[in-house]
């Protein structure tokens, strides 16, 4: 049970059910599609860049609570950041999920996304949490 409650936390459940980041944006500068063939999670990210800054970011699609929450949390975190800042945060997040070496200072930078740390103990769900972040990485590096 402890396990369950450390996964389906208030932060994750709130983000998975709230939809303020789940929409289309006007005149996106780029889009990227991400898909987990094994479980069917399927999202599309839309971005509006203003010079080097992420002015707006949103998603559409469907998936489990973990993937939906992870996407929404990521959008909150990366909006307003520069391209380089975003890539650094994505890198920290992926290392956190893969249980690689990571400092407390780096974890702090992830803000609410830290709530997803316990997913790293659930191999069956790691891909759900990662999907948005890998998709975002591709989108930025385009």
């Amino acid at each position: 049970m402890d396990n369950l409650e450390s996964i389906y936390t208030d932060v994750i459940m709130q983000h998975s059910t709230e939809t303020y980041n789940k929409k289309k944006i006007d005149n996106p500068t780029a889009m990227e599609h991400g898909h987990n063939p094994s479980c069917g999670d399927d999202i599309t990210l839309e971005i509006k860049m203003n010079n080097n800054v992420i002015e707006d970011l949103s998603f559409t699609g469907h998936g489990c609570a973990i993937s939906q929450a992870s996407t929404s949390i990521m959008i909150d975190l990366l909006k307003g950041k520069t391209k380089e800042e975003a890539l650094e945060l994505i890198n920290i997040f992926i290392r956190m999920i893969k249980r690689e070496k990571i400092s407390e200072e780096e974890l702090d930078k992830l803000e609410e996304a830290r709530a997803l740390q316990n997913i790293s103990n659930m191999p069956a769900r790691v891909k759900c949490a990662e999907l948005a972040w890998y998709t975002m990485q591709k989108l930025i590096e385009k």
């Binding site: 396990n3 998975s16 999670d41 399927d42 469907h62 489990c64 609570a65």
Partner: protein, 407 residues
């Protein structure tokens, strides 16, 4: 023998507190099968068909006995109509390459059901594209069944191959194979039956069905992983080219050409999985000892009980046939508003193992307007208590999500 007696033979289910409801993916193995495989490796292991020494001859005999047992189990006319493969997927690829690729001509039609597993669908996409033939589907009604009018409308002159699963791995639908085979033969087509979800669960008779080809995997019927079966009518197998080329499948090899061994060896290149065949043979003994009608009875009882308990839950949608006579022990459902992946994680935290996802049947789910479902599938070792635990775990799922969504 009851399912409670049977369960005692499955150490994996007794050594830990788990409810295993994913036998449609792979079945657990009884100790009799594990012991038979052990014994083979401890007493009889050698490369079959190779040595002139006693041990190799013993391995060859054991392999041949397994072939005979499989033939009897599905009532094939000849022992040599059984080809061993790795699994149903390999069997279906063998048919697609060695039969489909050679026999299909431009504008010929291949008809599949929309409920085929990717293994009986993706190979046919490739083969029809290569041969410029046409791939068409028989669709299901709202209860997940293929109607007679759909069969007669789709299986028409010009159709050369019909591929059909005997039981849907998603919906549990039992398809009318005899009717489909009869119709296929009337228009001059052959019928390929995917029996992966049927042979383990009820008596399948290839001659009664009049199947031209029939395939299944050992691991879904209590045997080890890595052994599968292709049944084919001898006349068809004789006129097909080999699938894999190499050792053992040959007669004479010259520098520039080769003559091939007779059926079934022609289709069994390389050193074969004798240990797997021994396991399959032992699994057949185990099932025969219970009796396939008893196996069917046990599962029917579980299905009826599970359907009754699941339909009491007002937050669940069940898919598939309403008529339980056409329904095998596979149930797909969704917890309203909750993604199947989350449901299976929460069930897992309650030690209940179920499958979630698209079950290797994306075209079926898309046709039904779904992304994924939860699936439970039963076998002879499941009990009513397992289903009670499933229901309790689903109630727990509701509790976890009720704070956040209307469920």
């Amino acid at each position: 023998m009851t399912n409670y007696d049977i369960k005692k033979d499955f150490s994996i289910l007794n050594n830990q507190d788990i409810v295993y409801l994913d036998s449609g993916a792979t079945a657990q193995k009884p100790k009799q099968v594990i012991e038979a495989v052990n014994e083979y490796y401890e007493l009889s292991n050698a490369n079959p068909h190779r040595g002139a020494y006693k041990l190799s001859i013993k391995a060859t005999e054991v392999y041949d006995e397994a072939r005979e047992k499989v033939a009897n189990f599905i009532n094939a006319k000849l022992k040599d109509e059984i080809v061993f493969t790795r699994n149903a997927t390999e069997s279906l690829n063998l048919i697609a390459y060695s039969y489909g690729m050679d026999k299909l001509k431009k504008n010929d039609k291949v008809v599949l059901s929309i409920m085929e597993h990717h293994s009986n669908l993706v190979p046919w996409q490739y083969v029809t594209q290569k041969t410029n033939s046409v791939l068409e589907y028989m669709y299901i009604n709202k209860d997940g069944e293929i109607t007679t009018s759909e069969i007669n409308e789709k299986i028409v002159p010009g159709v050369k191959i019909v591929g059909i699963t005997q039981v849907s791995n998603v919906l549990g639908t039992i398809n009318p194979i005899k009717e489909i085979a009869k119709r296929a033969h009337e228009v001059g087509a052959i019928v390929i039956v995917d029996a992966s979800q049927s042979v383990p669960h009820f008596k399948v008779d290839v001659r009664e069905l009049d199947a031209d080809f029939l395939v299944f995997s050992g691991h879904k019927m209590l045997s080890p992983l890595g052994i599968g079966v292709l049944y084919g009518k001898m006349e068809l197998l004789k006129n097909m080219r080999p699938f894999l080329y190499g050792g053992d499948m040959i007669e004479y090899v010259y520098e520039q050409n080769t003559t091939y061994a007779p059926v079934p060896t022609k289709f069994e290149a390389g050193t074969q999985n004798v240990g797997g065949a021994v396991g399959l043979s032992s699994a057949i003994d185990y099932l025969n000892n219970i009796g396939m009608s008893e196996v069917e009875e046990i599962e029917k009882e579980l299905l009826e009980y599970a359907m009754k308990r699941l339909s009491e839950l007002d937050f669940i949608t069940i898919y598939g046939p309403k008529n339980l006579q056409n329904h095998s022990g596979v149930i797909s459902f969704n917890v309203n508003g909750v993604h199947p992946h989350d449901v299976s994680s929460i069930l897992d935290s309650q030690n209940v193992c179920i499958r979630s996802g698209n079950h290797c049947a994306q075209p079926l789910l898309r046709y039904m307007g779904l992304d994924s479902t939860c699936r439970v599938s039963f076998y002879i070792y499941n009990t009513k208590e397992d289903i009670d635990k499933l229901i309790n775990a689903l109630l727990k799922t509701k509790e976890v999500f009720a704070k956040w969504i209307n469920i």
